[in-house]
Subunit: 182 residues, 2 copies
Amino acid sequence: MALDQPPRELARRILHKGAVGSYGLCDVELPDGQRTTLVVLAHPGAAAVVPFLDARRIVMLRQYRHAIGGVIWEIPAGKLDAGEAPELCALRELREETGYSAGRLVRSGEILTAPGFTDERIHLFCAYDLTPGSATPEPNESLELHEVELAEALAMVERGEIIDAKTIVGLMHAARAVGLRA
Amino acid sequence: MALDQPPRELARRILHKGAVGSYGLCDVELPDGQRTTLVVLAHPGAAAVVPFLDARRIVMLRQYRHAIGGVIWEIPAGKLDAGEAPELCALRELREETGYSAGRLVRSGEILTAPGFTDERIHLFCAYDLTPGSATPEPNESLELHEVELAEALAMVERGEIIDAKTIVGLMHAARAVGLRA
């Protein structure tokens, strides 16, 4: 199938609208006339942020994730509210999950998490000039704050201790932003 | 909610078993007695591979992805078959998508793509000593092979032209593997 002949969508059936997005099936026709059905999870998008305490130290989270049944290292992140700009989402999630308000936010990049089945796009940021405050995590969020040297976080990526995709890419962009080599 | 008191799963209802995995809802009880429902997509896992043509050049794909309605840069990758080891999956997907057989495969890391709702884990590899052959992509796969300098691929990440998460992290690990700084 050639790239300039994408499949034609015949019908899309939503099977479930939930907190993560709309899960459904797309019937598509391939250029050769064959028909097939693809699973698609339509996601609102998300923002994630590397919060700098100073030029070397960042805030990271240990977070329980039910989908994997365990605790992992992450950077603060969350889904976009309806109509919310990624920048505002990043500032809001940072405040809710860590209590910190950021005086300066710089976009560093973006990722598609799993383009084989979802359009989820996570906008990545670095946050600076932090002012502490009270965190207000959701009742079902289970997280613990840690202050980590960015260089140590990069070593944790190398050692395979940090495996969350948005966190790895966010750290890589953050390292470049402050002139540290990943 | 404390990290040492994860929610207790009361029930899990599968809403759909499809090509991507089992999509369902988990009813959980939080430590404070509150109940909530979480969306979980149980995924079989996947493997992705950076194929080295020589010390500097790699094989990359331009691939059409229906979920995002467009063409993106990726490395060869695919889901694990039932009971399949990640190494064998990496070699199989490399062969199917590019035609290349690898004489040597080295594990470079792994990612969780979206732990907020799925256990999808992509095992990352570098492949060396490639022998060309015939690609046998799935009828619904739409892809185009490109030979790219690894240094140029890293520059494409920096410029935001490569945004697929497994591809970014795979390239970062590959750069480290051959002594190139990402």
